[in-house]
Amino acid sequence: MGNCCSDQAGGRAAVGGASSYNPNVPNEAIDQFLKSRGYNGLFSQIELSYSAADLRDRDVLSKSDPMLVVYTKGRDGVLEELGRTEVILNSLNPTWITKHTITYHFEIVQTLVFHAYDVDTQFHSVEVKMLKLDEQQFLGEATCALSEIVTKSNRSLTLDLVHREESTRSTCPRNIGKLTVRAEESLSSKTTTEMILRCSDLEYKDLFSKSDPFLIISKEVENGTPIPVCKTEVIKNDLKPTWKRVFLNIQQVGSKDSPLVIECFNFNSNGKHDLIGKIHKSLADLEKLHSSGQGENLFLPTLVGHDYHNKTLKSQLFVEKFSQSVEHTFLDYLAGGCELNFMVAIDFTASNGNPRLPDSLHYIDPSGRPNAYQRAIIEVGEVLQFYDSDKRFPAWGFGARPIDGPVSHCFNLNGSSHYCEVEGIQGIMMAYTSALLNVSLAGPTLFGPVITNAALIASQSLASGGRKYFVLLIITDGVVTDLQETKDALVKASDLPLSILIVGVGGADFKEMEILDADKGERLENSTGRVASRDIVQFVPFREVQSGEIAVVQALLAELPTQFLTYMRTRDIQPLSS
């Protein structure tokens, strides 16, 4: 628990290996492994299952034989098939058995498209994968975002099926059935095993002292070197060591029955650790070993002639403790009534340039091409809006003079003096363009007031018993003038359910922003010596228009679930069960 709010990079460097396992900071080997497979940051495997009701009857003598094809839709609109269900005979209300697994990414909008077909009897002997879809009768289609399903408390969403031509026309669609999609997070990603391992009768490997043993637990993969998933600390000069507890997430190892290899090494400071012995066991085997209380002999591959033989050793491995716990995931919290609330603050300082001139960062192009501010709002907003049920977003501007008043460092974007909220992403965009006409750009660039206001909203929500987590997006073109005030406000906010995303637009030097983003340097400290208890700031420069900008927004959002979980878990806040 203590680990969660302390400096993660520092803590890991200090203790090393998995002895300081923190569920939010997987060890580097695992990180590497996941990244090599395209997983970044926090991810969950989601199992989709489907049922439909009131499908159209396309067969003459019997009912339809429906099959569902599921696609994911890329940003370019291209559909990629995720999979097909089996064909269910003679049913207008089918519940398909086939389920599909998809990796949930918080930071992107994952659009799913469903096509239902009636598969004619003549094709029933053909495997569904081989079916030519244009030979089948189309029953209807539906689309939704994965985040729309996972934020539902029962994790299922019912969609109206529409016919392909009708979906483009704006006429009232005929009732051609409903599709229900359920998204279930696989339990394995939540289950963590805790073990205490010890060995007895290890052999001497050092010349003048006893061995310095440590364990590496690796996952065996088909025809390849095992992938290390966990490592214990080194115990000096001990032939019957008991190591600190180790934690393994079931998903890291595959399943409870996946083969693991546990190797015991003698630590050598030159990095060439000698193998003392090893053993092959799955987590299920280790659990049995624990309940029996028995040890199991290690073996050592030894060269005999030209072959390796496994020489059984006197040394034994014991499992002192074996327990499993289920940890709540980000999706559990979403389904359990937690929400992310989105807030926006926009930089109206004069360094953006006169909004009437095309070289201004605030220039509204008559052709409709969004400027950098508009793009940042849309791209962050379109991901976050799904997690905010009322879609009412506080929106502020800073660094400008609203209608001949003095310079304000936090004014309501909608022009109101009473309330700061606007309706939906569209509301932010409208308030932004009208504010451009109504304020005169000034300066300097102060973040303090905006952050303090956001913190106020977050603490008021806590006071009224809310289960909300707030995300403030600050879009700015320049370097903050009030660096110390900003730090003070951030340090104070680090104790609240709040994360801050800063997007830098334009060509300024953003070095100082990097200081605010604690994972690139030291922890933030205020003027009186209080230190941010966790990292709540994420900064990215948003320069290039042409390419890579999507990845920029993803990088910005990717840390949010972890920041959210750190907040919830350290406070032991449980999701409400649905």
């Binding site: 709010c5 200090a14 009224s464 230190v531 406070r571």
Partner: protein, 168 residues
């Protein structure tokens, strides 16, 4: 009526980071002394195996006088020459009392330590929760007045006690 003159705090001393003694990382035996006033203190056990990144995870329950504006955390280290102070942090009471958050909110707080020369040392991580008697906690949010100073807070809490005397 001692309870109106002080409030009870649950302070969990979680961990320390990068603790140094004369620039060198400390090896072991760090502990923390929490002082609420010059005469009252509580201390944690010694950490034996965390080196300069000790972990205590120890909950200390202390009484904080109403007028107090600071509590002091002293990280000390037991050496062969006796206990040595590694660094000190002065924690304003306003960091966990007042503001809009619920009174019994669990605060996670971190502080920079300073040694006796005023030089920057490591960081200490704690959590603080103000223990609120059941009846007082519900009156608090209704008042909803922003709070700054410890003295003013004392008056308000007293007032809150009276309000809750009325049957709800």
């Amino acid at each position: 009526m001692a309870s109106t003159l002080s409030r009870t705090l649950e302070i969990t001393v979680i961990s320390g980071e990068d603790l140094r003694n004369d620039r060198r990382p400390i090896k072991k035996n760090a502990f923390v002394v929490v002082r609420t006033d010059p005469y009252n203190s509580r201390r944690t056990d010694m950490d034996t195996d965390g080196g300069s990144y000790p972990k205590w995870n120890e909950k200390l329950v202390v009484d904080l006088p109403m007028h107090a504006q600071f509590i002091t955390l002293e990280v000390q280290c037991k050496t062969s020459l006796g206990d040595k102070t590694v660094g000190t942090a002065r924690i304003p009471v306003s960091d966990f009392v007042g503001g809009y958050v619920p009174e019994s909110y669990l605060h996670f707080l971190s502080y920079r330590l300073r040694d006796h020369n005023g030089e920057r040392n490591g960081i200490v991580n704690i959590s603080v929760r103000v223990k609120v008697p059941e009846y007082a906690s519900c009156s608090r949010t209704e008042l909803g007045i922003p709070m700054g100073m410890g003295v003013a807070w004392g008056q308000r809490n007293f007032g809150g006690g009276i309000v809750t005397g009325v049957p709800v």
